[in-house]
């Protein structure tokens, strides 16, 4: 078998055709050196044609199957065509891209095998939708370049691998459930069930029955035995959201599950073993609830084996552009639109906004804008009215103060505080920790007006 790449047909107008298609295409000689690399292959891998040609295919393509089940090797050595084989590659940015691969042999005019051709399709969009349905998120799916979140990333894999109970604190919409899911999906229990219970959404008696189950006759409408969420989460993870909203009586029962790893169904004296990992979350600081006697100290210490505190979005503004880009991509997929992004003015407004609803609110804002946007870029007019600033308050007004970042930050903080308190200057000043007259003086200096 010849191993001379020069025997491959020289790409001419076939080249043009291959460069015009959406699927990646590359060819190799019999030494696995890349001899052709089309435009879509450049786009999907992030590697230019100049860099790719002449390199070993596995050093460029970096597919999950390169070492163990190379599709081209099967085709060239076994003369077996591969069609739509699912795999993933790592692009130049270190991102994993799901793809489907098809291969065929290349022969010269005499019919001798001179190499192989591989076509691959980027399945990122399909995979993103699938993840949204299955929620198989890992930490690598969480968007952040915030230092506090990155510190959490550093230790979370170890937390996930352990069996320890985890307490996640953070304001509503800060992504507590996302972290809980990611912990589950990285844990040894990942193949087991993941069960979510919002403890704040159900009345106490119903919640008790939901969590622990009941036997027939336990209460008036209990016509048959029913497993609770703890039973359904057996072998997996139970996520108890808004645990700070549970009653004292329920807290006692939860404490027993955490201490003894066992419980009784309502109306039954039989003890059931709980093979469940517990992740609890609260939008309030549980330590503060202890002081008021609203939350049991012993349960708090049982839950607080590992505590993760998620910052509000206002404390991680550097993530806003990344999140906006992500939500635009996601709504494009969902709604079949081709919106390129947001205008500079919109980004200014989004960067300055206070986000009492955190990441969830930002998502809602982008979804709202998608409904109204008919063009390719989201403009200020597409944003919900309540987040739009009156012209005098827009961040560009703060540009008037020049490039001084301290003054910019000060202006944004003042605007946020004013917005949060509906323009109430005394409350805004109290939040900022300054006197009302100091606030007035700063507003005058920074030319901030608020109705």
């Amino acid at each position: 078998m010849s191993r001379n790449s020069s025997e491959l047909p020289s790409p001419t107008h076939g080249d043009v055709i291959l460069n015009s298609i959406a699927d990646g295409v590359f060819t190799v000689d019999l030494d696995w050196n890349i001899t052709f690399f089309n435009s879509a292959a450049e786009r999907i891998t992030g590697i230019s044609r100049d860099q790719a040609i002449g390199q070993r295919c596995f050093d460029v393509f970096r597919a999950s199957i390169c070492e163990t089940a190379c599709a081209l090797r099967q085709t060239i050595d076994g003369d077996k065509e591969i069609i739509d084989l699912k795999a993933n590659i790592m692009n130049a940015a270190g991102e994993t891209i799901p793809i489907s691969i098809s291969t065929a042999v290349l022969r010269d005019e005499a019919g001798d095998v001179v190499g192989g051709v591989e076509t691959f399709r980027d399945l990122s969009a399909i995979e993103a939708l699938r993840k949204e349905i299955t929620k198989e998120y890992t930490f690598e799916d969480i968007i952040s370049k915030n230092r506090d979140i990155r510190r959490i990333f550093d230790v979370l894999p170890d937390i996930a691998q352990s069996e320890s109970t985890v307490l996640i604190e953070g304001p509503s919409g800060s992504g507590k459930e996302l972290f809980a899911r990611a912990i589950h999906n990285l844990s040894p229990r990942k193949d087991g069930p993941y069960v979510v219970v919002n403890c704040g959404a159900l009345p106490d008696t119903l919640l008790e029955s939901e969590l622990f189950g009941h036997v027939r006759g336990a209460f008036t409408d209990a016509r048959s035995d029913r497993d609770g969420r703890f039973a359904r989460a057996s072998g997996g993870t139970i996520f108890l959201d808004e645990i700070g909203d549970t009653s004292s009586a329920l807290q006692v029962r939860l404490l027993r599950v955490l201490q003894e790893r066992e419980y009784e169904r309502l109306g039954s004296s039989d003890t059931v073993k709980a093979d469940v990992r517990v992740i609890a979350a609260s939008n309030r600081k549980l330590s503060e609830l202890l002081a008021g006697g609203v939350f049991r100290e012993d349960l708090y210490f049982r839950l607080n084996v590992v505590k993760i505190v998620l910052p509000p979005l206002v404390n991680r503004r550097e993530d806003i552009p990344l999140l906006v880009e992500y939500f635009v991509r996601r709504f494009n997929l969902r709604q079949g639109k081709e919106i390129q992004g947001v205008s500079g003015e919109v980004m200014d407004v989004l960067m300055a906004y206070g986000y009492p609803g955190n990441v969830r609110e930002l998502e809602n804002i982008i979804e709202h804008a998608f409904v109204l946007c008919r063009g390719h870029e989201i403009e200020v007019g597409h944003l919900p009215g309540e987040i739009r600033l009156v012209p005098a308050e827009r961040p560009e007004k703060t540009r008037h103060f020049g490039e001084n970042p301290l003054q910019q930050a000060e202006a944004i903080a003042i605007l946020e505080a004013l917005r949060k308190h509906g323009g109430h200057r005394r409350l805004a000043a109290a939040e900022l920790g300054i006197d009302k007259t100091t606030l007035w003086r700063k507003m005058k200096k920074l030319e901030i007006t608020y109705p």
Partner: protein
Amino acid sequence: MVIAIPIFGSRVSPRFDHAQELLLIKEAEGRVVESKRVIFGDSGPLERVARLAALHTNVVICGGISGFLARQLAFRGVRVYSWVTGEAEDALGCFLTGQLETGLMAGPRGPCGRWRLGRGGRGRGGHRGRRGPGG
């Protein structure tokens, strides 16, 4: 010093998370004092990180690696030279002579090229752009 190179045959493996084997080298005063192959198999990415930490690895020389895993290694005190291509022995030679860099193409007589920074930002500290939902 313990140096680990995930390998594919005799070459640096293209993917840290899918490498089947590892070349584990003990180095002292610029010389290799011990070298052995260790099976990585199909262990998960975080298991690989934990295993390298358990092997007291100081340096990892690898091909493609996600920013997340590179950071996990760095957090455990492991210095990472990523996006390296070529023969594992050549890459080791470059390291021992102080010529190794992230993104290096290693040749028998030292560095023989370097991946230019791609559109995706390959290169030293070039892992960026997470995909997925916010939180």
